[in-house]
């Protein structure tokens, strides 16, 4: 008998990048593409937002993919199949505003690719022509190529070092597509803030509808603390309850980047402590 919040399956997709299936029937039954959950690994843990990559409402599991970057994600990786996660709440945020647009461009970077996957799948199901650009630092770090291929009409790959596909960033491939005269009705970008910003800059004026899924630092996830606030079209909005997807052309990217750096020092301290405790 699998208990609620138990880890069902765990796999390292690439160095430090993990895919995890967790029993969460309440979340799975209500989930939509573009939504996320908040996870606390243990009772002393942070509240960490994780985008839903996949879910099964009948069986009751959810899937997340994450990269080990700090204390919380390292602690999550230390959990084994059969272990329980302390807390999972969701689904949170608005579902992606998917519909039949026609030609849709999907741009994903790093662990943003799995987060992009359910949105692409939904857009494909709705009858859109889905063109996908995914990128990573190296071919070894590239994940979800197969999954994205299954829900895309065409897939373009970029790597920073040229070990696979086009040498460069995802935005370089986007530029190539646009320069070749490809026309798109909508674009989704999920990845690092700098990547989403770069995509927004080159597609602005060329693709009418543009969404980015923001990765602001979050605490409550339910609209009461304001930690994840962003400026969108000169209005202060909350990523958790007003997003997580916003019009890429309206987002104040500079501010988002500033706010993402707020805890750099503390993140180092926490990590040192975890290492000092001999847990890693």
């Amino acid at each position: 008998m699998i208990k609620e919040r138990q880890i069902i399956y765990k796999k390292e997709l690439a160095t430090n990048i993990y895919e995890m299936l967790i029993e969460a029937p309440k979340v799975a039954r209500a989930a939509h593409a573009g939504q996320f959950v908040l996870i606390m690994v243990d009772e002393k843990g942070e509240r960490v937002p994780m985008t839903l990559v996949d879910w099964n409402p009948e069986v009751g599991w959810i899937k997340i993919v994450y990269q080990e970057v700090g204390t919380s994600t390292i602690k999550l990786s230390m959990k084994k199949v059969g272990d329980e996660i302390y807390y999972i709440a969701g689904p949170l945020g608005h579902p992606s505003r998917v519909s039949k647009f026609g030609n849709v461009l999907m741009v994903g970077g790093g662990v943003g690719i799995p987060a992009l996957y359910p949105i692409a799948r939904e857009l494909k199901r709705l009858g859109n022509r889905v063109i996908t650009v995914i990128g990573a630092k190296t071919s070894n770090a590239l994940i979800y190529e197969k999954e994205m291929s299954e829900v895309s009409d065409e897939v373009y790959i970029t790597t920073d070092n040229g070990s696979k596909g086009i040498k460069g960033f995802t935005v370089d491939a986007v530029k190539l597509l646009l320069n070749n005269g490809e026309k798109f009705d909508a674009v989704w970008a999920v990845g690092p803030a700098l990547m989403m910003k770069a995509v927004a800059e080159v597609t602005n004026g060329k693709i009418p509808v543009s969404y980015s899924s923001l990765n602001s630092i979050m605490v409550c996830g339910v609209g009461m603390c304001g930690a994840c606030r962003v400026t969108v079209g000169n209005k202060t909005l909350l990523t958790c309850v007003d997003g997580p997807e916003f019009d890429s052309y309206q987002v104040n990217w500079k501010e988002l980047t500033i706010r993402l750096q707020a805890y750099k020092k503390e993140e180092m301290i926490s990590l040192e402590m975890l290492k000092g405790a001999g847990k890693v």
Binding site: G45, K75, C220, G221, V222, G226, I258, R259, S270
Partner: protein, 459 residues
């Protein structure tokens, strides 16, 4: 004067010691002190404290009489008929404008320290594990209480006592709402909150954590499983100043700062994983209860703290005792000043605030002088800002429930008895009023529980 005696002032821990930790500031009075203070109550007063002063109409003369006789168990029984959590209300109610504000002894001397005596009785009952059995018959009807804050606690306790099957839904990992994330340990210890929730569970209330009603379960879904739904989700969304630079790093809303410190225990970072950036010189904007809680928490984390308020000393809206404790502990106040811009040296972190000097103008709707800009500004250097200027109702449920009628401010519209625009859905507390006090929210919980009972009797 001699006959009615002097008011008991509860002992507090010395400011220079308490400002260095998160232990409780005010101490629970002793049984002897409680008996002596309760004995100051005069016979045959009209009890305006209960009827006009207390939003949940606690029978104050009744419980005081039992305390004066040394019968604390009977006193507790009387108290919990109206406040299921006297240990909490005794600590956080704004007594000086409620019960104690109405006390007839105020006119001839000093009001009875009702809050301190109430808190004593509550703590005594918790320590001695006094349980008051529920006697009502099972109604075999189910009610969902959404939110585990003040209004939800009272609604759940009342409905459970009436014999309903109650399930309480809470989005966070710890129940209590603002009592858990907002009010700091030094004012309301979490062990008290935990015990009060154990009591609620003993009454038969089922508590489900990590459920976000609106998305995990929608209101229509809950209506399939429950005979009635009570929404007590509170005032969540913080109000922003909307001045340039407000989103620089190092600027927190009080809700974020307090949630990190209280709920996530960031004051124990890095033992707990949630970090908090604590500045050397902290500016808290606003002078309500939340502002005091934030200022005193920042002080305890080692900062030099300034409360900046656009009005004057006499207009401070926090409980008088919190203001007093804050000053005793060394929180400094800058009155008649309002932020017009936040500035940064490195382009990332806040480094100073441009403040507008204000002056008192004509009285506003609250009767207090309206703050008027003088046109003169000055700069205040700071490396951390906490804004505490109020809240809007939590937007999540209204966003996800189009049929639920809300007003222009996002407040759920209810009739006088707490019925919303959706049949069998009720609401109370800050989600309805916008922003008020713990005890006023509790008053709503009580009122709406009665309405639910009345309506469910009919079906």
């Amino acid at each position: 004067m001699s006959k009615i005696g002097h008011r008991l002032e509860p002992k507090t821990r010395p400011p220079e010691i308490r400002k260095k930790d998160f232990e409780e500031v005010e101490l629970t009075i002793s049984p002897e002190e409680a008996i002596k203070e309760a004995s100051r109550d005069i016979k045959f007063c009209a009890a305006p404290c209960s009827f006009r002063g207390c939003p949940v109409n606690v029978n104050i003369p009744g419980f005081l009489k039992k305390v004066s006789e040394g019968d604390f168990k009977e006193a507790y029984k009387i108290l919990i008929q109206n406040t299921p959590v006297p240990s909490i209300t005794g600590r956080v109610c704004q007594q000086e404008i409620q019960c104690e504000g109405q006390c007839v002894l105020r006119r001839v001397g000093e009001p009875i320290a009702i809050g301190a005596v109430e808190r004593f009785v509550g703590d005594w009952a918790l320590e001695n594990n006094i349980e008051i059995p529920v006697t009502s018959e099972k109604k075999h009807k189910k009610v969902a209480v959404v939110g585990s804050g003040p209004s939800g606690i009272v609604a759940a306790a009342d409905l459970a006592r009436m014999g309903y099957d109650v399930t309480m839904y809470e989005a966070f990992h710890i129940p209590g709402g603002v009592l858990a994330y907002g009010i700091p340990e030094f004012r309301l210890p979490k062990r008290i909150l935990r015990k009060e929730f154990e009591r609620l569970q003993n009454l038969g209330v089922n508590i489900e954590l990590g459920v976000v009603v609106g998305t995990t379960y929608t209101i229509p879904e809950l209506l399939k499983d429950y005979n009635a739904v009570f929404l007590g989700v509170g005032a969540g969304r913080p109000i922003f100043l909307n001045v340039p630079g407000e989103n620089l790093a190092g600027i927190y809303t009080a809700n974020e700062f307090l949630t990190r410190v209280n709920l996530m225990k960031a004051y124990m970072f890095p033992e707990y994983d949630t970090p908090i950036h604590v500045g050397k010189k902290v500016a808290v904007i606003g002078a309500g209860n939340t502002a005091m809680d934030a200022a005193r928490s920042a002080l305890r984390l080692g900062a030099d703290v300034y409360v900046i308020y656009r009005r004057g000393r006499n207009e401070v809206s926090a409980r008088a005792v919190e203001f007093k404790h804050a000053e005793e502990e060394g929180v400094k106040f800058i009155f008649w000043a309002a932020p017009v811009e936040f500035e940064s040296n490195d382009g990332i972190n806040v480094s100073s605030i441009k403040l507008m000097k204000m002056k008192p103008g004509e009285p506003d709707r609250s009767g207090r002088p309206r703050p008027v800009p003088t046109g003169e500004t000055f700069n205040f250097d700071t490396d951390m800002v906490i804004t505490a200027i109020g809240f809007y109702p939590n937007p999540l449920i209204p966003q996800m429930t189009p049929d639920l009628k809300v007003d222009d401010h996002g407040r759920v519209v209810v009739d006088i008895e707490g019925r919303t625009s959706i049949p069998r859905v009720y609401a109370g507390g800050d989600i309805v009023t916008g922003e008020s006090t713990v005890i006023e929210a509790m008053g709503w919980g009580r009122r709406v529980a009665r309405t639910i009972d009345k309506d469910l009797q009919k079906i």
